[in-house]
């Protein structure tokens, strides 16, 4: 266990050291945007969604460290296992998210004129929402980047934009906008309905614990999947 923590700490420090020139300005931009947002908008849930998406996608920078530097093979000659390297990605990504979230909460709490407060954000439901969104994004992003690299992520974003825009144009031209909107919303509505049903079936603290356990399991599943992909890689 001590070895695992030591390796994680070494890898985290490496990732932060390598990217502080990018992460420091990103943190400043994030803080400036948050400062504007919390003084203008009194929507804590909306704030959380924006912050989570921003924070989660920013982790793509350090988790692609070896892909960008061409050092993937060299990293695997270090006295670490491939599991250490994959776990390092998750630790770095979550450490970044926690760091950025702390900045956001501190701004909400102490920024003069803030329409939000720390107590609005640090309630179990909103914390679970935060963990849920971050889990969803990182759970897909990390295995994807390990398999396809930074270029793969870029390509995916471009393809998603083209597909989204194309779908919109086709829906507009064919007058099928309602059907497309309904189709896109189906999985999200189903997820929301499932969570609501679970909440109604369980007392609040139990529901929160179950949801937390599910999110932890999803992270674990994503990690195991990413590890299986990375173990198969030949470098």
């Amino acid at each position: 266990m001590t070895d695992v923590l030591r390796q994680n700490w070494i890898l985290l420090r490496r990732d932060l050291l390598l990217h502080w020139r990018v992460l420091a300005p990103s943190a400043l931009i994030f803080a400036a945007f948050q400062a504007w947002f919390i003084t203008e908008v009194n929507r804590p849930t909306l704030w959380l969604v924006f912050a989570c998406v921003y924070m989660s996608f920013l982790t793509v920078i350090p988790i692609n460290v070896d892909d960008k530097a061409g050092t993937a093979a060299w990293s695997c000659t270090l006295p670490v296992t491939r599991a250490d390297l994959v776990r390092g990605r998750y630790v770095t990504a979550w450490a970044m998210v926690v760091g950025f979230f702390a900045v956001g909460v501190a701004l909400a709490a102490y920024m003069p004129g803030s329409k939000l407060s720390a107590t609005m954000l640090l309630v179990p439901d909103r914390l679970l929402l935060t963990i849920g969104i971050v889990t969803f994004i990182l759970g897909l992003l990390i295995p994807f980047t390990l398999q396809f690299g930074l270029m793969g992520v870029m390509l995916m974003l471009v393809v998603l934009q083209i597909v989204g825009a194309g779908l919109f144009v086709v829906a507009k031209l064919t007058g099928a906008m309602d059907a497309v909107e309904g189709g896109v919303a189906v999985p999200f509505r189903a997820l929301a309905a499932g969570i609501t049903a679970l909440r109604e079936a369980l007392p609040s603290p139990v529901f929160q614990l179950v949801l937390l356990a599910v999110l932890v399991l999803l992270n674990w599943g994503s990690y195991r999947f990413a590890l299986a992909l990375f173990r198969r890689k030949e470098l």
Partner: protein
């Protein structure tokens, strides 16, 4: 799980298949405290073999024991005791050499900062310069300084002397020889510059088209293999597979034999028999027959 082996590195029947290329039944042993040179033409399978030893590739068959451990199952433990230099060293381009070294040092509990400084001084490395600004030669020197600074018991070098000037190549070979003086470290050194190996290697393994041609002590090889020169009339009397490689000229031939004693006995004074260099061995075994 530790296991007794005959050497610092033991490779048995190693196989790796790719479309169009296969490493087949590769076997050799690097005895503890010795230098083995892994030679062969480009694309012979040298780098693939080294990557399999490091666990960067997955083997399709065979066995590897590095320092008594299997890199496939005890990779991190094996690699903590191995110093490796890649043929194209890659570190973090935006960091200085000192920063890169500090980063690498954290991974090795046995890291010796004084030894690193000693090598950095000896190799004249600009520690304040960014890795991305270095020449290929300096990148290799830096990778070597790192590989030699954590008390590695097995040093694996993939073409470390290519791209280096002759003076540094000589210094490097001296450094490797010094490393062996305590007889603790063993070295596996892949190269196509065979003159380097003639200076320092104790054992030579020749690999070609993914197969081992021979793996033996250098002295034994240089004693056993020889260049035979004679007239074309002599060649006509011999079976076609008598030599390992033949070069025919207008008036005579030059050929390589892997049994100098038998050639002396059988061909007598009809030919001239000379000591073959490693270069000759690689050249003639790579191109089995050629004409002027």
């Amino acid at each position: 799980m530790s296991q007794e082996t005959n050497g610092a590195l033991e490779v048995r029947d190693l196989c790796k298949r790719y479309p169009g290329f296969a490493l087949a039944d590769v076997s050799f042993t690097v005895p503890s405290g010795y230098i083995m040179g892994l030679i062969g033409p480009n694309g012979a399978g040298k780098t693939t073999t080294l990557k399999l030893i490091l666990g960067l590739l997955h083997r399709d068959g065979g066995m590897i024991r590095a320092l008594g451990l299997d890199p496939a199952t005890d990779g991190a433990q094996v690699r903590s005791r191995i110093g490796f230099v890649h043929d194209e060293p890659r570190f973090y381009r935006s960091l200085t050499l000192a920063q890169n070294a500090a980063l690498v040092a954290r991974f090795y509990p046995t890291w010796d900062a004084d030894v690193f400084r000693h090598h950095a001084d000896a190799f004249d490395l600009p520690l304040a310069k960014r890795f991305g600004q270095l020449s290929h030669g300096n990148k290799t020197k830096f990778a070597l300084a790192l590989a030699l600074s954590h008390g590695a018991e097995l040093v694996v070098l993939d073409e470390p002397t290519s791209g280096l000037d002759p003076v540094f190549r000589r210094d490097l070979l001296d450094t490797l020889t010094e490393l062996l003086q305590d007889e603790r470290a063993s070295i596996l050194f892949s190269t196509h510059i065979t003159s380097d190996l003639e200076r320092i290697a104790d054992y030579i393994t020749l690999i070609q088209d993914g197969r081992i041609i021979f793996s033996d002590s250098k002295d034994e090889i240089l004693q056993r293999w020889a260049l035979v020169k004679g007239g074309l009339d002599v060649l006509d009397l011999l079976p076609p597979d008598y030599f390992r490689g033949i070069h025919r000229g207008a008036h005579g031939f030059e050929a390589l034999t892997d049994d100098a004693a038998a050639a002396r006995r059988q061909l007598g004074d009809s030919v001239v028999i000379e000591v073959a260099t490693l270069d000759d061995v690689v050249l003639y075994t790579t191109v089995s027959e050629s004409d002027d």
